[in-house]
Symmetry: C2
Subunit: 698 residues, 2 copies
Amino acid sequence: MGELSTLFAPQRVAVVGASEETGTVGYAITSNLLAEFEGETVAVNPNQEEVLGLDCHDSLTDLENVDVAIVVVPATVAVDVVRDAARAGIENVVVVTAGFSEAGSDGSAREAELVEIATEHDLNVVGPNSLGVMSTGVGMNATFGPRTATPGTISFMSQSGAFITAVLDWAGDREIGFRDIVSLGNKAVLDESDFVREWGDDPETDVILGYLEDVADGREFIEAAREVTRETPIVTVKSGRTEAGASAAASHTGAIAGSDEAYEAGFKQAGVLRVDTVQELFDFASILDGQPLPDGDGVAIVTNAGGPGVMTTDAVGDAALRLAEFEDETLDRLSEALPSEANIFNPVDVIGDADVERFATAIEIALSDPGVGMAVVLACPTATLSFEALADETVRLQAEYATPVAATLMGGSGTDAAAATLREAGIPTYFDPARAVRSLDALREYAAIRDHDPVEPTTFDVEYDRAREILTSAVERGRTHLGVESMDLLDAYGISTPQGEVVDSPGDAERVAREIGGEVVMKIVSPDISHKSDIGGVEVGVPQEAVRDTYEDIVVRARNYQPDGSIVGVQIQEMVDLDEGTETIIGVSRDPQFGPLVMFGLGGIFVEVMEDTAFRVAPVAGSEARAMLGEIKSAPLLSGARGRTPADRAALVETIQRVSQLVTDFPAITELDINPVVAQPEGATAVDLRLTLDQEKL
Amino acid sequence: MGELSTLFAPQRVAVVGASEETGTVGYAITSNLLAEFEGETVAVNPNQEEVLGLDCHDSLTDLENVDVAIVVVPATVAVDVVRDAARAGIENVVVVTAGFSEAGSDGSAREAELVEIATEHDLNVVGPNSLGVMSTGVGMNATFGPRTATPGTISFMSQSGAFITAVLDWAGDREIGFRDIVSLGNKAVLDESDFVREWGDDPETDVILGYLEDVADGREFIEAAREVTRETPIVTVKSGRTEAGASAAASHTGAIAGSDEAYEAGFKQAGVLRVDTVQELFDFASILDGQPLPDGDGVAIVTNAGGPGVMTTDAVGDAALRLAEFEDETLDRLSEALPSEANIFNPVDVIGDADVERFATAIEIALSDPGVGMAVVLACPTATLSFEALADETVRLQAEYATPVAATLMGGSGTDAAAATLREAGIPTYFDPARAVRSLDALREYAAIRDHDPVEPTTFDVEYDRAREILTSAVERGRTHLGVESMDLLDAYGISTPQGEVVDSPGDAERVAREIGGEVVMKIVSPDISHKSDIGGVEVGVPQEAVRDTYEDIVVRARNYQPDGSIVGVQIQEMVDLDEGTETIIGVSRDPQFGPLVMFGLGGIFVEVMEDTAFRVAPVAGSEARAMLGEIKSAPLLSGARGRTPADRAALVETIQRVSQLVTDFPAITELDINPVVAQPEGATAVDLRLTLDQEKL
């Protein structure tokens, strides 16, 4: 694919399938283009002489210097048209036509052909099955939607065309402005990562919004978004979050999305703000677009209404924000400026008889406190307050102090003029104070994303060849499910494992136990037995003298359990002191979009019953692994809660990173479960292992 | 207090402090009354001859047949005016005047006097420090707010006057109608429970809304609301939820609210729907007001837009709702009615080119499916769909099938006319589908509240006198912190405890241990040692032969730990088999508003680190105790998860109820902690106890 800049700033756009017949897509797009497009619109339709006053061309191949071709011909001929575009040297093609991969096997074949042509000719293809594209910078509405966007600085991509239509209709009434809009369609060629990159480079785009049902390539998306979000915030809905939603999404766009845990982790790692509702999407967009980033998480609330002030304070408590604590000087100044019945402590209540002067004075004093990172101005209608005057003062003070402000005007249409003044100055207004606070919290979150050091996964010095050999030889022996006998694999990647060996005779068992010394752990090794403990296949604390008998016992139990099962032998393992340690689990599954997804949690009931887990997409950097340890609710148990010995968190962090490196290096490992990893006061030891191999990928 | 009906339907209202001076409260209330009140407005002001055309009276004592007196005179004389009202036989007094308990100790004294008069004369007093009252049934606006409510069926009480002003301003533009409105003020006499009862009896009130910062009497509120919510839904904001919010509330109304756990539990037990935002308050009110209750939790979604359909499905997954699964007949009918590209499965997608006929046909087929309990009609703007026609059809079908419907019209002002049609028919509309689904979920929740059997706490046959004797004798000995030595108290209330006795000599220790037989548990008993285990004061599994030495060891350790501490002796206790049991905790704290609050959770880290707890206000009924067991996240561990022996849930439920009865019978027990209660395969045994007594209350 080439650069996308000409897609959004073309000089010449051709509509293939242009039509004069109202109600057709070809008509809608042509007339939408003719309405405001600053460049030239060219009509292509071999069956027409003229369309809406434009001379009609027979084919793209007749044309020169076309920047974008919009394809609205029937599916059966659309691929040929794209081929024509490539031949004519056109870089950008928007395939509006439906009837591709969303429509059965014929369509899928057609889409494969389309991808082939695009790859061969390095074509930028939007769609197919797209509503089209818009760019207010050049007045281009190349969609068949009924409404054109108001110019602005939000760029928006959507995997639902209807969602774009709905949003434009709604946003138009609210003066929310857009820069570029793209309906992603089936994302056969261009996907969200491409547009994230493009808009990240576009100085006119201040906020990137998305409605996504899946992400085509999770890893690529993380990389693109991680870079872009250092300059430009990305806010996106990822729908199909729930089981029912995912199945609805699959039937809508054919999107087979991976687990929501992967999206949640991936978006977090990419610095993408994820929202669940349309309201939040635009609430966050508006404040990110209009307000500066805060330099602290302390919120000042200034209000003329006590009760709503309490609700706002609750919302601050719900968010990752806190109520700013005023300096003495601030309190003195407020005390001097306000009547004695007023509340000078945060939330500041200037009380019901305040006029705009008193209200504004309180706002100014609050904004001048160094502990105030952001502010909510919250007004209820009274006989003494002019909303318009308050809006003017708020705009002035926000500009003067360059502190982000959200306004809550708790009234009806009497607040409209004031809201318009505030909106024009980039200050969002709401009726519900909870929304104002949540929006400020989004600012805080994005500020934290920007502050973050660049994430660089550590590459440890490991024995890659040895690990490959272990996996290859397992596959050669027809094994795809490995267990404790393959602990060497972990050892090769520098992960601590107990001393041990798999033996297949009582004599060898005794010999290995002697080498280890003291009491040992003995576990059956069989690819056919997954719940070893349940069948009596594990014995802990076996004294040297009992090793021989225990060997026999374990093997007999395994035989009884599964007479035909294959028994590799018995693992003799050094005892790991569980009294001094905390059992944790590190697991890896493979997500269709994001690849290896690393899970961390505490062992036993914590992961399985309490679902107390943290996820990250591999490769996992040190800072990300550290965050995983802090994210679980049971985290205090790693830090010595309830009289426990604190665990070696650094060792756990390194173990997570090394596991991440292992599964990144070997895509053949489709699932991996190290349970438990015992976190000790010093070090962390992997005690048991289960992994699944896909031999095709080795 | 008398009946409140004359407060909201008076024939004669007197304003004491009526004034002609614009900008005063006396002017505002008098002119608001004169505007629309169907009854007679009487002005009282000894300093005026006439106010706004009304003859002015010197005092209430000159008047007869006044139903309501509105008091707006200064605080210093307000109490005298209330006394006059009582003398004149006026039943209802609304004290608008501020300067009472919210304003220091003079004000508090004044308020106490007010309460005294009210009690003596059985007066209904609203306030003081109130915005006033409104009743659209008689056109009465006896508030000093700028706007009068539109008539409707929502009755609304608020602990914030500004909140009423704000809501009326906003609701007026949205045609949300009200029946009665009361600004509760300081709630010196009448509080939320009184209005809940009044509106519960009022056939014209369909929904009760509240903005509360505290509840004056939690138990009374639960009883009142529990009865009322069987007929009339109650939705309320309880602000001051968070720590910061509670402290803001305290400075706003002086409300010292108890723990949010108590409110959460109390509202649940009362059947009150609690919301956190203004938006939800009115979203829930509108749907409860306008739509019938569902007869199932299956939701049908019918849309012309795939993407928004997926978002709606996600919202269903987030709520306690499920996507309805259509019958074969429904699928056949949809398949016949819709084009092949449509999705006949729920969410039904009639696709973008649908006209109203196709859309309505799909809605009708969906509503006729017996598994559909409610429906979301979700439309995006297209060239083929008329929103107005869709609204008409939706209204018709909703009425025909009597199934609750929420509409989502995802567009701008082009949807206004359609929204108005829907609203008029009681069908709420939203732009954001998540709000539509949450509103339907509120309907489901309220339907479940109504379906619920009346909650009757069981009264067990207990040895009350024996329990009283144990507590009294402890207090007589100067003891207010009791421990394991008082396990008899639990025994008296029929709670299983291990066999055991407190002894004060090694010889007695041996004797008791022999009586118990086998290994025993030994614990130091000292009011000065609370963390017995930490100082080596507990020994488990002591064999008979070691009892004497262990006695000495434990006592020595206790002496070393606290040389001056008082040592009662050593408890010798039967061993409780923990391997077969699950450790749980039952705790009780006392909430200032709700009284005894019973907590249940699993022992060890579950309560302390994972905060996995369930709360109910005592007395706790059997069904409520059962719900507590299911509410904790670790609930599966009681049912045999991960190979555990299932616990005797019935025994736990009974233990919770018996504890509830104990703390209800003895208000002197201010705190109680039974940790652990071991839940066994058969039975549940309380193993250790700590409780705190308030001897004043015994």
